[in-house]
């Protein structure tokens, strides 16, 4: 959370995450190399090249799967907490692959290796001899921008919205890398197994995103008892849910047409409504819980007070709040967001409803 610029705040979780990550990458590269030496007769350089390339590609698949997996099952949330570290590792392994390939295939002539890489093969009209390196370079440049801006410092300076938009470029990067592999390694090896593995990866990544989209769509569909509106105004109370629908210290997320999702929290006999979107990385606040009086985002633990949407001191983040009331055991809100940080008196649950 922001007060001023500071370096990465290392904690035990981050250290364990990075140690496990570095060990996994080292183990993968070692195993790939060892098995490759036994099963393949090519040079060590090409073997290492392929070990790095497949490792980076596998890491990117994992990065892409963590988001939807965390949306489908909260048990994957710990992986999301330090996903950026995984992304930076993906870039570094990919960079090592690119540097080794450039040096090995273009570093022994009189021409600058980078110029040789970009200018030697210009058969863009051919499928079998397509300069697949171009797709790899584009993907690596995208991953570089993402890795370079992965610190919270950049997120605060660019604004969360711009930062998120930049990091959505991971999807085009994935597309370029699929084509890089399809037109490069697959043509070199000619085995249908590699094509099958590539398609399997695409199906897994695409399928998880599709499943998540389907789940989110269901969550956004108002229940029959909920009033659907098209043009919310600042004076109209809209029925959102029953008080009993909300577990203590948790929230119910409602989507009243025409506005963002709203998270309605119940705590200590009171009800407050805030936007479901965290100011940090747009995490789903309504899937978090109230810890020590603060709504805690399930993604990275950012905190907000439920009645005013403000982070506790010394932090300054603010989120939008909504006017809320309880009528006859039902929660009603005015689905027009108030300016971030606006104090809204919580709705009090009547005693008999609270006990029930």
């Amino acid at each position: 959370m922001s007060v001023q610029y500071s370096s990465v705040k290392w904690n035990r979780n981050k250290r364990i995450y990075d140690i496990v990550l570095a060990s996994a990458i080292g183990t993968y590269l070692g195993l790939f190399f060892a098995v490759g030496k036994l099963a393949w007769t090519g040079s060590d350089e090409i073997l290492l090249l392929r070990a790095l390339g497949t490792c980076a590609f596998l890491l990117l698949h994992i990065v892409l799967c963590i988001g939807p997996l965390a949306r489908l099952d909260p048990r994957f949330l710990p992986l999301l907490y330090n996903r950026r570290h995984l992304g930076v590792a993906t870039f570094l392994v990919g960079l090592a692959h690119g540097a080794l390939a450039t040096g090995y295939y273009h570093g022994f002539g009189n021409v600058n290796p980078l110029l040789s890489l970009l200018g030697t093969n210009t058969n863009y009209g051919s499928v079998s001899a397509f300069p697949f390196e171009t797709f790899g370079i584009i993907a690596l440049l995208i991953l570089f921008v993402m890795a370079a801006t992965s610190h919270d410092f950049w997120q605060r300076n660019l604004s969360p919205s711009v930062w998120k938009s930049i990091h959505m470029a991971v999807y085009p990067a994935y597309g370029f890398l699929v084509l890089h592999v399809a037109l490069g390694a697959l043509h070199a090896e000619q085995s249908p197994i590699y094509l099958a593995v590539l398609i399997l990866g695409f199906v897994v990544v695409g399928g998880l995103h599709l499943a998540t989209a389907f789940k989110e769509r269901i969550a956004d569909t108002p229940a029959k008892s909920e009033q659907k509106i098209d043009t919310p105004d600042a004076e109209t109370w809209v029925d959102a849910c029953a008080v009993d629908d909300i577990p203590e210290n948790r929230a119910k997320i409602v989507c009243l047409a025409g506005c963002e999702r709203i998270a309605i929290f119940r705590y200590g006999g009171k009800i407050s409504a805030v936007t479901n979107v965290c100011a940090h990385q747009r995490g789903p606040l309504g899937e978090g819980k109230i810890i020590e009086g603060c709504i805690t985002c399930p993604w990275h633990g950012w905190e907000y007070r439920p009645h005013n949407g403000q982070s506790p001191p010394p932090f300054h983040e603010r989120i939008a709040t909504f006017r809320v009331r309880v009528v006859g055991g039902r929660v009603q809100v005015i689905p027009v967001p108030l300016p971030p940080g606006t104090l809204v008196e919580p709705a009090v649950i009547e005693e008999e409803q609270y006990v029930a």
Binding site: M168, L198, G206
Partner: protein, 33 residues
């Protein structure tokens, strides 16, 4: 995620999915025998 970013996801996948599928198909068809 905001509504805007959910829409971005949708449009990106609507473009990316067919593009990758077509790319894989062209690559497979273009493989030397």
């Amino acid at each position: 995620m905001t509504v805007r970013h959910r829409r971005w996801h949708l449009w990106i996948w609507l473009a990316l999915g067919p593009a990758i599928a077509i790319g894989l198909f062209i690559s497979w068809k273009g493989m030397a025998p």
